[in-house]
Symmetry: C3
Subunit: 136 residues, 3 copies
Amino acid sequence: MHKFRVSTRRREELQDITSEVARVIGASGLKSGLCVVYCPHTTAALTVNEGADPDVAEDIISGLGHLVPSSLRFKHAEGNSDAHIKASLFGPSLTLIVEEGRPVLGTWQRIFFCEFDGPRERSVFVRTVAGGAGKE
Amino acid sequence: MHKFRVSTRRREELQDITSEVARVIGASGLKSGLCVVYCPHTTAALTVNEGADPDVAEDIISGLGHLVPSSLRFKHAEGNSDAHIKASLFGPSLTLIVEEGRPVLGTWQRIFFCEFDGPRERSVFVRTVAGGAGKE
Amino acid sequence: MHKFRVSTRRREELQDITSEVARVIGASGLKSGLCVVYCPHTTAALTVNEGADPDVAEDIISGLGHLVPSSLRFKHAEGNSDAHIKASLFGPSLTLIVEEGRPVLGTWQRIFFCEFDGPRERSVFVRTVAGGAGKE
């Protein structure tokens, strides 16, 4: 398993980690298979979305804030239940296809670490698995 | 990696792609393992849900429209930020178990391509990986 | 493929299944690779979130109830469309990294079965795949 660190700078932030994930896959020597990117935190998550226009990441954060307002009455005493809910909505892991030693992404897609309760020092775990079975 | 095309006909639509995914797995020759279905678009996604009653797919679209109204004020100039948010909520990939050459699904489950900014010509990528380890 | 049962006791409930998943991985003999946990139901899902404070699970259920109110007008005659939408928001599968025969989780993370239309008898499927490629 590979690990890398992410330093977030705001309470909520989408940080582009595509190049870090691509570097891990390159270093693993895997040419064809899968790559699982995993977030070991309960107030952060991972997603894939548009990276060309940074307004999209801003809109995702503001849209999620509309969905899960921090003003909702929650029980959890730390006051960050909105971040826990957002983490489960986006999910802790991404499973990507690897071809020719690189993650397969669409033209506009980038991989993002989603901070919902920062700023913090965070970790990302990556596992590569060889694949492509039978007549693939 | 296998690819197939999906032609969507409305701005928002859940299209059942179960038979296409099953066909790809059958053609790969894989009997036991995993199948990753991947959506390379940033305003579309994949999900698994009930296929027997088409009202469920309609309710999912209308329920998501309640969650993420397109009337929210967004920055992204293309005016489709609601679609980007819905794409991240449902996610770009599905990881399915393969047994006896077929995807393992519950009685009522079907695999859906989720269009949030159509109609468009879309692509779906599929990777199969052999598996079942140790005493499996 | 391994299976285990989950008995839910309320309409909506997050039930900690971490020890069941760890037991399945242990029994498979897998030391290093991936584990896919799959929910074959259309009104239930899986997630990873904080398990130390049970208030977090309660807040996730109440927060989701705010997102997808059961009072929305839906077409599906069974009256459980809110549960179908929540199932797709959290998703039917989790892909976990396995190291030293155990699922890799963060300090506060636990694996939860998410019941949205119970109480019911439910099933969970698990597939393990050996991995760690190249220089891993």
